[in-house]
Protein backbone atom coordinates (compact mmCIF):
# COMPACT_ATOMS: atom_id res chain seq x y z
CA UNK A 1 0.00 0.00 0.00
CA UNK A 2 1.29 3.48 -0.81
CA UNK A 3 0.03 6.92 0.02
CA UNK A 4 0.44 9.81 -2.37
CA UNK A 5 -0.25 13.45 -1.83
CA UNK A 6 1.56 14.91 -4.74
CA UNK A 7 4.87 13.39 -3.71
CA UNK A 8 4.84 9.87 -2.43
CA UNK A 9 4.42 9.99 1.29
CA UNK A 10 4.31 6.33 2.10
CA UNK A 11 5.79 3.78 -0.27
CA UNK A 12 5.06 0.14 -0.56
CA UNK A 13 4.30 -0.59 3.03
CA UNK A 14 3.40 -4.20 3.27
CA UNK A 15 2.86 -6.35 6.28
CA UNK A 16 0.37 -8.74 7.68
CA UNK A 17 -0.98 -9.19 11.12
CA UNK A 18 -2.75 -12.19 12.51
CA UNK A 19 -5.53 -12.36 15.06
CA UNK A 20 -4.19 -11.89 18.53
CA UNK A 21 -0.85 -10.70 17.23
CA UNK A 22 0.72 -7.47 18.31
CA UNK A 23 2.79 -5.62 15.81
CA UNK A 24 4.71 -2.47 16.55
CA UNK A 25 5.23 0.15 13.88
CA UNK A 26 8.12 2.31 14.88
CA UNK A 27 9.47 5.48 13.40
CA UNK A 28 10.18 9.12 14.02
CA UNK A 29 7.72 11.91 13.32
CA UNK A 30 7.39 12.23 9.61
CA UNK A 31 8.07 8.59 8.90
CA UNK A 32 4.58 8.02 7.64
CA UNK A 33 3.35 5.71 10.34
CA UNK A 34 0.25 7.70 11.23
CA UNK A 35 -0.57 8.06 7.55
CA UNK A 36 -0.39 4.30 7.23
CA UNK A 37 -2.93 3.89 9.98
CA UNK A 38 -5.24 6.53 8.57
CA UNK A 39 -4.97 4.95 5.14
CA UNK A 40 -6.01 1.58 6.55
CA UNK A 41 -9.02 3.21 8.16
CA UNK A 42 -9.84 5.10 4.99
CA UNK A 43 -9.63 8.37 6.85
CA UNK A 44 -7.00 10.14 4.85
CA UNK A 45 -7.48 13.85 4.14
CA UNK A 46 -9.06 14.51 0.78
CA UNK A 47 -5.83 15.54 -0.92
CA UNK A 48 -4.16 12.25 -0.12
CA UNK A 49 -4.69 9.09 -2.07
CA UNK A 50 -3.89 5.58 -0.98
CA UNK A 51 -3.11 2.99 -3.61
CA UNK A 52 -2.66 -0.68 -3.19
CA UNK A 53 -4.66 -3.11 -1.10
CA UNK A 54 -5.56 -3.56 2.51
CA UNK A 55 -7.12 -6.94 3.13
CA UNK A 56 -9.20 -7.56 6.20
CA UNK A 57 -10.47 -11.11 6.24
CA UNK A 58 -10.32 -11.31 2.47
CA UNK A 59 -11.98 -7.97 1.83
CA UNK A 60 -9.99 -5.10 0.34
CA UNK A 61 -10.69 -2.04 2.46
CA UNK A 62 -9.24 0.38 -0.03
CA UNK A 63 -11.50 -0.87 -2.78
CA UNK A 64 -14.62 -0.92 -0.63
CA UNK A 65 -17.31 1.72 -0.90
CA UNK A 66 -17.41 4.46 1.69
CA UNK A 67 -20.63 3.01 3.03
CA UNK A 68 -19.02 -0.37 3.54
CA UNK A 69 -16.04 1.25 5.19
CA UNK A 70 -18.32 3.09 7.62
CA UNK A 71 -19.80 -0.26 8.51
CA UNK A 72 -16.39 -1.74 9.16
CA UNK A 73 -14.93 1.15 11.09
CA UNK A 74 -15.41 0.59 14.74
CA UNK A 75 -16.84 -2.87 14.31
CA UNK A 76 -13.97 -4.56 12.51
CA UNK A 77 -11.12 -2.10 12.66
CA UNK A 78 -10.82 0.78 15.05
CA UNK A 79 -8.31 3.40 15.97
CA UNK A 80 -7.02 4.93 19.16
CA UNK A 81 -5.75 8.41 18.59
CA UNK A 82 -2.73 10.06 20.02
CA UNK A 83 -4.13 13.14 21.65
CA UNK A 84 -7.21 12.33 23.70
CA UNK A 85 -8.02 15.93 24.37
CA UNK A 86 -8.54 16.57 20.67
CA UNK A 87 -10.11 13.24 19.92
CA UNK A 88 -12.87 13.65 22.47
CA UNK A 89 -15.74 16.08 21.97
CA UNK A 90 -15.23 18.70 24.69
CA UNK A 91 -18.90 19.49 24.91
CA UNK A 92 -20.14 15.96 25.38
CA UNK A 93 -20.02 13.95 28.54
CA UNK A 94 -17.64 11.09 28.37
CA UNK A 95 -20.27 8.45 28.97
CA UNK A 96 -22.32 9.78 26.10
CA UNK A 97 -19.33 9.58 23.77
CA UNK A 98 -18.85 5.93 24.58
CA UNK A 99 -22.58 5.34 24.08
CA UNK A 100 -22.27 7.06 20.73
CA UNK A 101 -19.60 4.62 19.68
CA UNK A 102 -21.78 1.72 20.75
CA UNK A 103 -24.87 2.98 19.01
CA UNK A 104 -22.97 3.51 15.79
CA UNK A 105 -23.15 -0.21 15.20
CA UNK A 106 -25.68 -1.66 17.58
CA UNK A 107 -29.32 -0.96 17.95
CA UNK A 108 -29.47 0.11 21.56
CA UNK A 109 -31.74 2.59 23.20
CA UNK A 110 -30.30 5.32 25.37
CA UNK A 111 -30.64 3.47 28.61
CA UNK A 112 -29.02 0.29 27.32
CA UNK A 113 -26.23 2.19 25.65
CA UNK A 114 -25.56 4.13 28.81
CA UNK A 115 -25.33 1.00 30.89
CA UNK A 116 -23.07 -0.66 28.36
CA UNK A 117 -20.91 2.44 28.34
CA UNK A 118 -20.52 2.33 32.10
CA UNK A 119 -19.56 -1.30 31.88
CA UNK A 120 -16.93 -0.48 29.26
CA UNK A 121 -15.55 2.33 31.36
CA UNK A 122 -15.19 -0.15 34.16
CA UNK A 123 -13.32 -2.54 31.90
CA UNK A 124 -10.76 0.12 31.10
CA UNK A 125 -10.13 0.38 34.81
CA UNK A 126 -11.61 3.77 35.47
CA UNK A 127 -12.45 4.16 39.12
CA UNK A 128 -16.14 4.78 39.71
CA UNK A 129 -17.24 4.41 36.11
CA UNK A 130 -20.73 5.73 36.78
CA UNK A 131 -19.42 9.02 38.06
CA UNK A 132 -16.82 9.20 35.32
CA UNK A 133 -19.43 8.78 32.65
CA UNK A 134 -21.05 12.01 33.75
CA UNK A 135 -17.89 14.02 33.40
CA UNK A 136 -16.60 16.11 30.56
CA UNK A 137 -13.21 15.36 29.04
CA UNK A 138 -11.55 18.36 30.58
CA UNK A 139 -12.48 17.14 34.01
CA UNK A 140 -10.45 13.97 33.61
CA UNK A 141 -6.72 13.44 33.73
CA UNK A 142 -4.69 12.50 30.65
CA UNK A 143 -4.52 8.88 31.62
CA UNK A 144 -8.24 8.72 32.22
CA UNK A 145 -8.98 10.30 28.89
CA UNK A 146 -6.80 7.81 27.11
CA UNK A 147 -8.70 5.02 28.82
CA UNK A 148 -11.94 6.52 27.59
CA UNK A 149 -10.49 6.50 24.08
CA UNK A 150 -9.67 2.85 24.48
CA UNK A 151 -13.18 2.17 25.64
CA UNK A 152 -14.51 3.88 22.54
CA UNK A 153 -12.16 1.99 20.26
CA UNK A 154 -13.06 -1.37 21.75
CA UNK A 155 -16.75 -0.66 22.14
CA UNK A 156 -17.90 -2.74 19.22
CA UNK A 157 -15.37 -5.50 19.48
CA UNK A 158 -13.17 -4.86 16.49
CA UNK A 159 -10.85 -7.46 15.02
CA UNK A 160 -7.99 -5.03 14.59
CA UNK A 161 -7.06 -2.08 16.75
CA UNK A 162 -4.70 0.58 15.44
CA UNK A 163 -3.20 2.46 18.33
CA UNK A 164 -1.54 5.64 17.13
CA UNK A 165 0.96 6.67 19.79
CA UNK A 166 -1.48 5.94 22.61
CA UNK A 167 0.98 6.80 25.33
CA UNK A 168 2.90 9.70 23.84
CA UNK A 169 0.73 12.33 25.43
CA UNK A 170 0.97 10.77 28.87
CA UNK A 171 3.39 10.99 31.76
CA UNK A 172 5.91 8.22 31.85
CA UNK A 173 4.47 6.84 35.05
CA UNK A 174 1.05 6.55 33.51
CA UNK A 175 2.35 5.16 30.23
CA UNK A 176 3.18 1.77 31.60
CA UNK A 177 -0.21 1.29 33.23
CA UNK A 178 -2.01 2.32 30.07
CA UNK A 179 0.14 -0.03 28.01
CA UNK A 180 -0.55 -2.88 30.34
CA UNK A 181 -4.23 -2.16 30.08
CA UNK A 182 -4.05 -2.14 26.31
CA UNK A 183 -2.21 -5.43 26.41
CA UNK A 184 -4.85 -6.94 28.66
CA UNK A 185 -7.81 -5.71 26.68
CA UNK A 186 -6.38 -6.85 23.41
CA UNK A 187 -5.67 -10.26 24.87
CA UNK A 188 -9.19 -10.52 26.30
CA UNK A 189 -10.83 -9.59 23.06
CA UNK A 190 -8.44 -11.59 20.95
CA UNK A 191 -7.98 -8.80 18.48
CA UNK A 192 -4.88 -7.84 16.57
CA UNK A 193 -3.01 -4.75 17.62
CA UNK A 194 -0.95 -2.41 15.51
CA UNK A 195 0.91 -0.24 17.96
CA UNK A 196 2.35 2.84 16.34
CA UNK A 197 5.00 4.61 18.31
CA UNK A 198 8.34 6.32 18.08
CA UNK A 199 9.43 4.78 21.31
CA UNK A 200 11.18 1.43 21.06
CA UNK A 201 10.84 0.90 24.76
CA UNK A 202 7.08 1.12 24.47
CA UNK A 203 7.00 -1.31 21.60
CA UNK A 204 9.26 -3.73 23.37
CA UNK A 205 6.76 -3.96 26.23
CA UNK A 206 4.00 -5.65 24.40
CA UNK A 207 4.76 -6.34 20.75
CA UNK A 208 5.46 -9.71 19.18
CA UNK A 209 6.73 -8.26 15.93
CA UNK A 210 8.18 -4.90 15.10
CA UNK A 211 8.50 -2.91 11.89
CA UNK A 212 10.65 0.15 11.57
CA UNK A 213 9.64 2.84 9.15
CA UNK A 214 11.75 5.62 7.78
CA UNK A 215 10.74 8.31 5.32
CA UNK A 216 7.62 6.48 4.35
CA UNK A 217 8.93 2.99 3.92
CA UNK A 218 9.49 -0.09 5.96
CA UNK A 219 13.21 -0.52 6.50
CA UNK A 220 13.20 -3.50 8.77
CA UNK A 221 10.70 -6.03 10.05
CA UNK A 222 10.97 -9.02 12.32
CA UNK A 223 10.23 -10.58 15.68
CA UNK A 224 10.52 -8.10 18.51
CA UNK A 225 13.26 -9.93 20.34
CA UNK A 226 15.47 -10.17 17.31
CA UNK A 227 14.86 -6.56 16.32
CA UNK A 228 15.63 -5.24 19.73
CA UNK A 229 18.61 -7.36 20.62
CA UNK A 230 20.28 -7.46 17.26
CA UNK A 231 18.84 -4.98 14.81
CA UNK A 232 20.08 -5.25 11.25
CA UNK A 233 19.18 -1.89 9.76
CA UNK A 234 21.40 0.99 10.86
CA UNK A 235 18.35 3.09 11.55
CA UNK A 236 16.93 0.56 13.94
CA UNK A 237 20.31 0.35 15.64
CA UNK A 238 20.42 4.08 16.02
CA UNK A 239 16.89 4.15 17.40
CA UNK A 240 17.80 1.51 19.90
CA UNK A 241 20.78 3.47 21.07
CA UNK A 242 18.87 6.67 21.48
CA UNK A 243 15.85 5.29 23.25
CA UNK A 244 17.53 2.78 25.50
CA UNK A 245 20.72 4.72 26.03
CA UNK A 246 20.55 5.40 29.71
CA UNK A 247 21.94 2.47 31.62
CA UNK A 248 20.25 1.87 34.93
CA UNK A 249 23.37 1.48 37.08
CA UNK A 250 26.04 3.83 35.91
CA UNK A 251 25.34 7.52 35.72
CA UNK A 252 25.57 9.05 32.31
CA UNK A 253 27.96 11.95 31.98
CA UNK A 254 27.80 12.75 28.34
CA UNK A 255 24.98 14.18 26.28
CA UNK A 256 22.21 11.87 25.17
CA UNK A 257 23.02 10.13 21.91
CA UNK A 258 21.02 11.34 18.96
CA UNK A 259 20.90 10.51 15.30
CA UNK A 260 22.57 13.39 13.50
CA UNK A 261 20.58 15.03 10.75
CA UNK A 262 16.85 15.14 10.08
CA UNK A 263 14.24 13.06 8.38
CA UNK A 264 13.99 14.33 4.81
CA UNK A 265 10.71 16.15 4.25
CA UNK A 266 8.14 14.48 2.06
CA UNK A 267 8.80 15.14 -1.56
CA UNK A 268 12.48 15.64 -0.89
CA UNK A 269 13.30 12.00 -0.32
CA UNK A 270 16.71 11.37 -1.82
CA UNK A 271 17.01 8.81 -4.57
CA UNK A 272 18.28 5.57 -3.27
CA UNK A 273 18.18 4.66 0.36
CA UNK A 274 16.41 7.42 2.31
CA UNK A 275 18.66 6.97 5.31
CA UNK A 276 21.95 7.30 3.48
CA UNK A 277 22.77 10.85 4.56
CA UNK A 278 22.60 9.91 8.21
CA UNK A 279 24.03 6.44 7.96
CA UNK A 280 27.49 5.56 9.21
CA UNK A 281 27.54 2.37 7.21
CA UNK A 282 26.90 4.07 3.90
CA UNK A 283 28.51 2.71 0.76
CA UNK A 284 28.34 3.55 -2.95
CA UNK A 285 25.53 1.04 -3.43
CA UNK A 286 23.25 3.08 -1.21
CA UNK A 287 22.55 5.44 -4.06
CA UNK A 288 20.26 2.73 -5.32
CA UNK A 289 17.15 2.04 -3.32
CA UNK A 290 17.67 -1.21 -1.41
CA UNK A 291 14.79 -3.66 -1.64
CA UNK A 292 13.37 -5.36 1.40
CA UNK A 293 15.28 -8.63 1.65
CA UNK A 294 13.59 -11.43 3.51
CA UNK A 295 15.34 -14.01 5.56
CA UNK A 296 12.88 -16.24 7.35
CA UNK A 297 10.76 -14.13 9.58
CA UNK A 298 13.09 -11.16 9.35
CA UNK A 299 13.41 -8.60 6.55
CA UNK A 300 15.70 -5.63 6.10
CA UNK A 301 16.11 -3.03 3.36
CA UNK A 302 19.79 -2.37 3.44
CA UNK A 303 22.81 -3.13 1.27
CA UNK A 304 25.04 -3.40 4.27
CA UNK A 305 23.00 -4.46 7.27
CA UNK A 306 24.56 -4.77 10.70
CA UNK A 307 25.59 -8.38 11.18
CA UNK A 308 23.59 -10.42 13.64
CA UNK A 309 24.95 -10.46 17.14
CA UNK A 310 24.58 -13.83 18.67
CA UNK A 311 24.58 -14.40 22.36
CA UNK A 312 22.96 -11.07 23.10
CA UNK A 313 19.60 -11.14 24.76
CA UNK A 314 17.30 -8.28 25.33
CA UNK A 315 15.50 -8.07 28.58
Amino acid sequence: MSVHGGPRLVSDVSFDIARGERVGLIGESGSGKSLTALAIMGLLADELVATGHVYLGGEDLLAASERRRCQLRGSSVSMIFQEPMTALNPTMKVGKQVSEALRAHRKLNRREAHDAAIELLGRVELADPRRCSMMYPHELSGGQRQRVMMAIALACGPDVVLADEPTTALDVTVQRRVLELLDCLVAEQGCALLLITHDLAVASEICDRVLTMYAGRVVEAGPAERMLSSPAHPYTCALLETSLALPVDSPSDGPLPTIAGNVPPAGAFPSGCPFQERCWRRVEDCKVDPPLQRDGDHAVACWRPVPERTGVTFG
Binding site: T86, A87, T91
Partner: protein, 290 residues
Protein backbone atom coordinates in the same frame (compact mmCIF):
# COMPACT_ATOMS: atom_id res chain seq x y z
CA UNK B 1 -19.00 42.62 18.20
CA UNK B 2 -20.56 43.53 14.86
CA UNK B 3 -24.09 42.61 14.10
CA UNK B 4 -23.02 40.60 11.13
CA UNK B 5 -20.37 38.42 12.61
CA UNK B 6 -20.33 36.63 15.89
CA UNK B 7 -16.97 35.01 15.33
CA UNK B 8 -15.92 31.46 14.91
CA UNK B 9 -17.17 28.87 17.30
CA UNK B 10 -14.67 27.70 19.79
CA UNK B 11 -16.60 24.75 21.08
CA UNK B 12 -14.55 24.82 24.17
CA UNK B 13 -17.00 24.40 26.93
CA UNK B 14 -20.45 22.99 27.53
CA UNK B 15 -23.32 25.36 28.19
CA UNK B 16 -23.95 26.47 31.69
CA UNK B 17 -27.07 28.33 32.70
CA UNK B 18 -25.31 29.67 35.73
CA UNK B 19 -23.06 31.60 33.42
CA UNK B 20 -26.17 33.21 31.99
CA UNK B 21 -26.98 34.65 35.37
CA UNK B 22 -23.49 36.04 35.72
CA UNK B 23 -23.39 37.77 32.37
CA UNK B 24 -24.65 41.35 32.42
CA UNK B 25 -25.27 41.32 28.68
CA UNK B 26 -27.37 38.23 28.82
CA UNK B 27 -29.42 39.48 31.73
CA UNK B 28 -29.94 42.98 30.34
CA UNK B 29 -30.73 41.59 26.92
CA UNK B 30 -33.24 39.13 28.28
CA UNK B 31 -34.87 41.87 30.34
CA UNK B 32 -35.23 44.25 27.42
CA UNK B 33 -36.41 41.67 24.95
CA UNK B 34 -38.74 40.31 27.57
CA UNK B 35 -40.18 43.75 28.06
CA UNK B 36 -40.89 44.14 24.36
CA UNK B 37 -42.42 40.69 24.14
CA UNK B 38 -44.63 41.30 27.14
CA UNK B 39 -45.81 44.62 25.73
CA UNK B 40 -46.52 43.00 22.41
CA UNK B 41 -48.49 40.17 23.96
CA UNK B 42 -50.42 42.49 26.23
CA UNK B 43 -51.28 44.76 23.30
CA UNK B 44 -53.07 41.86 21.65
CA UNK B 45 -55.64 41.97 24.39
CA UNK B 46 -55.52 45.48 25.72
CA UNK B 47 -54.19 48.93 25.01
CA UNK B 48 -55.17 52.11 26.94
CA UNK B 49 -57.01 53.34 23.85
CA UNK B 50 -57.66 51.79 20.48
CA UNK B 51 -54.53 52.56 18.46
CA UNK B 52 -56.54 53.76 15.49
CA UNK B 53 -59.03 55.90 17.39
CA UNK B 54 -58.81 59.45 16.21
CA UNK B 55 -59.54 62.39 18.51
CA UNK B 56 -59.07 65.57 16.56
CA UNK B 57 -59.96 67.74 19.49
CA UNK B 58 -56.89 66.83 21.45
CA UNK B 59 -54.10 66.37 19.01
CA UNK B 60 -50.43 66.87 19.71
CA UNK B 61 -50.88 66.97 23.42
CA UNK B 62 -47.97 66.36 25.69
CA UNK B 63 -47.86 63.67 28.38
CA UNK B 64 -50.78 63.81 30.79
CA UNK B 65 -52.63 61.51 33.11
CA UNK B 66 -55.11 60.71 30.40
CA UNK B 67 -52.49 60.01 27.76
CA UNK B 68 -49.27 58.94 29.39
CA UNK B 69 -47.13 59.63 26.38
CA UNK B 70 -49.38 62.25 24.82
CA UNK B 71 -51.24 62.17 21.53
CA UNK B 72 -50.18 62.39 17.94
CA UNK B 73 -51.32 64.66 15.14
CA UNK B 74 -54.67 62.92 14.85
CA UNK B 75 -55.27 62.77 18.57
CA UNK B 76 -54.43 59.09 18.76
CA UNK B 77 -52.88 57.87 21.99
CA UNK B 78 -49.15 57.48 21.51
CA UNK B 79 -48.72 54.77 24.10
CA UNK B 80 -51.37 52.59 22.52
CA UNK B 81 -49.82 53.02 19.11
CA UNK B 82 -46.40 52.27 20.52
CA UNK B 83 -47.72 49.07 22.04
CA UNK B 84 -49.42 48.03 18.85
CA UNK B 85 -46.27 48.92 16.94
CA UNK B 86 -44.28 46.56 19.10
CA UNK B 87 -46.18 43.69 17.55
CA UNK B 88 -45.20 44.79 14.08
CA UNK B 89 -41.59 45.25 15.06
CA UNK B 90 -41.33 41.96 16.82
CA UNK B 91 -43.03 40.16 14.00
CA UNK B 92 -40.86 41.84 11.40
CA UNK B 93 -37.80 41.27 13.50
CA UNK B 94 -38.21 37.60 14.21
CA UNK B 95 -39.95 36.10 11.20
CA UNK B 96 -37.42 37.09 8.51
CA UNK B 97 -34.60 35.84 10.72
CA UNK B 98 -36.29 32.49 11.28
CA UNK B 99 -37.04 32.12 7.62
CA UNK B 100 -33.52 33.11 6.59
CA UNK B 101 -32.02 30.64 9.02
CA UNK B 102 -34.33 27.90 7.80
CA UNK B 103 -32.78 28.33 4.38
CA UNK B 104 -29.30 29.51 5.27
CA UNK B 105 -28.33 26.99 7.92
CA UNK B 106 -29.00 23.84 5.89
CA UNK B 107 -27.31 25.45 2.90
CA UNK B 108 -24.27 26.28 5.01
CA UNK B 109 -24.14 22.75 6.39
CA UNK B 110 -24.39 21.33 2.91
CA UNK B 111 -21.58 23.53 1.71
CA UNK B 112 -19.36 22.63 4.65
CA UNK B 113 -20.00 18.92 4.57
CA UNK B 114 -19.93 18.40 0.84
CA UNK B 115 -17.13 20.63 -0.21
CA UNK B 116 -16.17 20.71 -3.85
CA UNK B 117 -18.76 21.74 -6.41
CA UNK B 118 -21.66 21.85 -3.99
CA UNK B 119 -19.74 24.20 -1.75
CA UNK B 120 -18.85 26.44 -4.66
CA UNK B 121 -22.42 26.65 -5.92
CA UNK B 122 -23.84 27.50 -2.53
CA UNK B 123 -21.19 30.09 -1.80
CA UNK B 124 -21.49 31.82 -5.14
CA UNK B 125 -25.27 32.00 -4.91
CA UNK B 126 -24.88 33.36 -1.44
CA UNK B 127 -22.36 35.91 -2.67
CA UNK B 128 -24.85 37.15 -5.25
CA UNK B 129 -27.48 37.69 -2.60
CA UNK B 130 -24.98 39.31 -0.31
CA UNK B 131 -23.74 41.73 -2.91
CA UNK B 132 -27.16 42.81 -4.03
CA UNK B 133 -27.99 46.15 -2.41
CA UNK B 134 -30.75 45.35 0.04
CA UNK B 135 -32.37 48.75 -0.13
CA UNK B 136 -32.68 48.54 -3.86
CA UNK B 137 -34.26 45.15 -3.53
CA UNK B 138 -36.69 46.53 -0.99
CA UNK B 139 -37.66 49.37 -3.27
CA UNK B 140 -38.14 47.04 -6.20
CA UNK B 141 -40.20 44.64 -4.12
CA UNK B 142 -42.32 47.47 -2.83
CA UNK B 143 -42.98 48.64 -6.32
CA UNK B 144 -43.88 45.15 -7.45
CA UNK B 145 -45.87 43.90 -4.48
CA UNK B 146 -46.97 47.12 -2.85
CA UNK B 147 -45.62 48.49 0.42
CA UNK B 148 -46.52 46.42 3.45
CA UNK B 149 -44.99 44.72 6.43
CA UNK B 150 -44.83 41.56 4.41
CA UNK B 151 -42.82 43.17 1.65
CA UNK B 152 -40.36 44.56 4.16
CA UNK B 153 -40.00 41.15 5.77
CA UNK B 154 -39.36 39.51 2.43
CA UNK B 155 -36.64 41.98 1.57
CA UNK B 156 -34.99 41.66 4.96
CA UNK B 157 -35.22 37.89 5.03
CA UNK B 158 -33.63 37.55 1.61
CA UNK B 159 -30.80 39.84 2.63
CA UNK B 160 -30.10 37.72 5.69
CA UNK B 161 -29.86 34.32 4.03
CA UNK B 162 -26.21 34.68 2.99
CA UNK B 163 -25.23 35.70 6.51
CA UNK B 164 -26.54 32.43 7.87
CA UNK B 165 -24.90 30.50 5.08
CA UNK B 166 -21.52 32.00 5.91
CA UNK B 167 -21.76 31.71 9.66
CA UNK B 168 -22.99 28.13 9.51
CA UNK B 169 -20.44 27.09 6.94
CA UNK B 170 -17.40 28.55 8.65
CA UNK B 171 -18.35 27.22 12.04
CA UNK B 172 -19.26 23.83 10.64
CA UNK B 173 -15.90 23.64 8.89
CA UNK B 174 -14.13 24.25 12.17
CA UNK B 175 -16.03 21.43 13.81
CA UNK B 176 -15.65 19.10 10.85
CA UNK B 177 -11.90 19.58 10.95
CA UNK B 178 -11.63 18.68 14.60
CA UNK B 179 -10.07 15.61 16.10
CA UNK B 180 -13.28 14.34 17.59
CA UNK B 181 -15.07 14.32 14.28
CA UNK B 182 -12.20 12.24 12.91
CA UNK B 183 -12.57 9.97 15.89
CA UNK B 184 -16.31 9.73 15.27
CA UNK B 185 -15.65 8.73 11.69
CA UNK B 186 -13.17 6.21 13.06
CA UNK B 187 -15.93 4.39 14.90
CA UNK B 188 -18.09 4.39 11.84
CA UNK B 189 -20.36 7.40 11.97
CA UNK B 190 -21.71 8.41 8.60
CA UNK B 191 -21.56 12.08 7.49
CA UNK B 192 -25.23 12.85 8.14
CA UNK B 193 -25.03 11.43 11.63
CA UNK B 194 -21.94 13.45 12.32
CA UNK B 195 -23.72 16.60 11.21
CA UNK B 196 -26.57 15.87 13.53
CA UNK B 197 -24.69 14.70 16.56
CA UNK B 198 -21.49 16.70 16.52
CA UNK B 199 -21.72 19.66 14.19
CA UNK B 200 -25.16 21.04 14.99
CA UNK B 201 -24.83 20.96 18.78
CA UNK B 202 -21.49 22.65 18.59
CA UNK B 203 -22.53 25.41 16.24
CA UNK B 204 -26.00 25.89 17.70
CA UNK B 205 -25.04 28.52 20.22
CA UNK B 206 -23.17 30.58 17.68
CA UNK B 207 -26.00 30.38 15.19
CA UNK B 208 -28.57 31.34 17.81
CA UNK B 209 -26.45 34.28 18.91
CA UNK B 210 -26.24 35.33 15.29
CA UNK B 211 -30.01 35.06 15.02
CA UNK B 212 -30.49 37.38 17.92
CA UNK B 213 -28.12 39.94 16.49
CA UNK B 214 -29.87 39.77 13.15
CA UNK B 215 -33.21 40.26 14.86
CA UNK B 216 -31.96 43.57 16.15
CA UNK B 217 -30.81 44.47 12.67
CA UNK B 218 -34.13 43.39 11.24
CA UNK B 219 -36.07 45.60 13.60
CA UNK B 220 -33.91 48.52 12.66
CA UNK B 221 -34.19 47.73 8.97
CA UNK B 222 -37.93 47.35 9.17
CA UNK B 223 -38.27 50.64 10.99
CA UNK B 224 -36.13 52.22 8.34
CA UNK B 225 -38.19 50.79 5.50
CA UNK B 226 -41.36 51.93 7.18
CA UNK B 227 -39.88 55.36 7.60
CA UNK B 228 -39.18 55.44 3.89
CA UNK B 229 -42.70 54.37 3.14
CA UNK B 230 -41.68 50.99 1.78
CA UNK B 231 -43.02 48.92 4.60
CA UNK B 232 -45.96 49.11 6.93
CA UNK B 233 -48.26 51.82 5.72
CA UNK B 234 -50.26 54.08 7.99
CA UNK B 235 -52.69 53.92 9.69
CA UNK B 236 -51.28 50.63 10.95
CA UNK B 237 -48.91 51.78 13.64
CA UNK B 238 -45.28 50.84 13.41
CA UNK B 239 -42.42 52.58 15.08
CA UNK B 240 -40.85 53.49 11.77
CA UNK B 241 -43.87 55.15 10.29
CA UNK B 242 -44.60 56.87 13.61
CA UNK B 243 -41.20 58.54 13.39
CA UNK B 244 -41.86 59.46 9.81
CA UNK B 245 -45.17 61.09 10.62
CA UNK B 246 -43.83 62.83 13.69
CA UNK B 247 -41.01 64.58 11.96
CA UNK B 248 -43.48 66.93 10.25
CA UNK B 249 -44.45 68.19 13.68
CA UNK B 250 -40.99 68.48 15.13
CA UNK B 251 -41.39 72.14 16.05
CA UNK B 252 -44.79 71.68 17.66
CA UNK B 253 -44.27 68.45 19.52
CA UNK B 254 -40.69 67.23 19.56
CA UNK B 255 -41.48 64.45 22.00
CA UNK B 256 -43.54 62.71 19.37
CA UNK B 257 -40.43 61.51 17.51
CA UNK B 258 -38.71 60.54 20.73
CA UNK B 259 -41.12 57.82 21.88
CA UNK B 260 -40.97 55.56 18.86
CA UNK B 261 -37.25 56.24 18.59
CA UNK B 262 -36.75 55.11 22.17
CA UNK B 263 -38.81 52.04 21.52
CA UNK B 264 -36.60 51.13 18.57
CA UNK B 265 -33.48 51.72 20.62
CA UNK B 266 -34.71 49.56 23.47
CA UNK B 267 -35.59 46.61 21.27
CA UNK B 268 -32.47 46.80 19.11
CA UNK B 269 -30.31 47.09 22.20
CA UNK B 270 -32.15 44.22 23.81
CA UNK B 271 -31.62 41.83 20.95
CA UNK B 272 -28.02 42.87 20.52
CA UNK B 273 -27.22 42.35 24.19
CA UNK B 274 -29.05 39.05 24.10
CA UNK B 275 -26.99 37.95 21.14
CA UNK B 276 -23.80 38.99 22.88
CA UNK B 277 -24.85 37.17 26.00
CA UNK B 278 -25.56 33.97 24.10
CA UNK B 279 -22.24 34.19 22.33
CA UNK B 280 -20.49 34.74 25.64
CA UNK B 281 -21.98 31.54 26.96
CA UNK B 282 -20.02 29.58 24.43
CA UNK B 283 -16.82 31.53 24.34
CA UNK B 284 -15.66 30.96 27.86
CA UNK B 285 -12.48 28.97 28.05
CA UNK B 286 -12.22 25.62 29.70
CA UNK B 287 -10.41 26.79 32.77
CA UNK B 288 -7.99 24.39 34.28
CA UNK B 289 -7.29 21.51 31.96
CA UNK B 290 -6.11 18.39 33.66
Amino acid sequence: MTALGVGLARPGAPLSWRRWARSPSALAGTALVGLVVVVAVVSLAWTPYPPLAIGPSHSLEGPSWAHILGTDQYGRDVLSRLMAGSRTSLYAGVVPVLAASAIGVPAGLLAAARGGIGDQIVMRLSDVLYAFPALLAAIALSAALGASTGTAMLAIGTAFVPVFVRVTRSNALVVLGSGYVLAARAYGRRPLQILRRHVLPNIATTVIAQMSLLCSLAILAEAGLDYLGLGTTPPTPSWGNMVQAAQDYLSQDPLLTVWPGLAIIVSVLGFTLLGDGIAELRNTHLGRCA
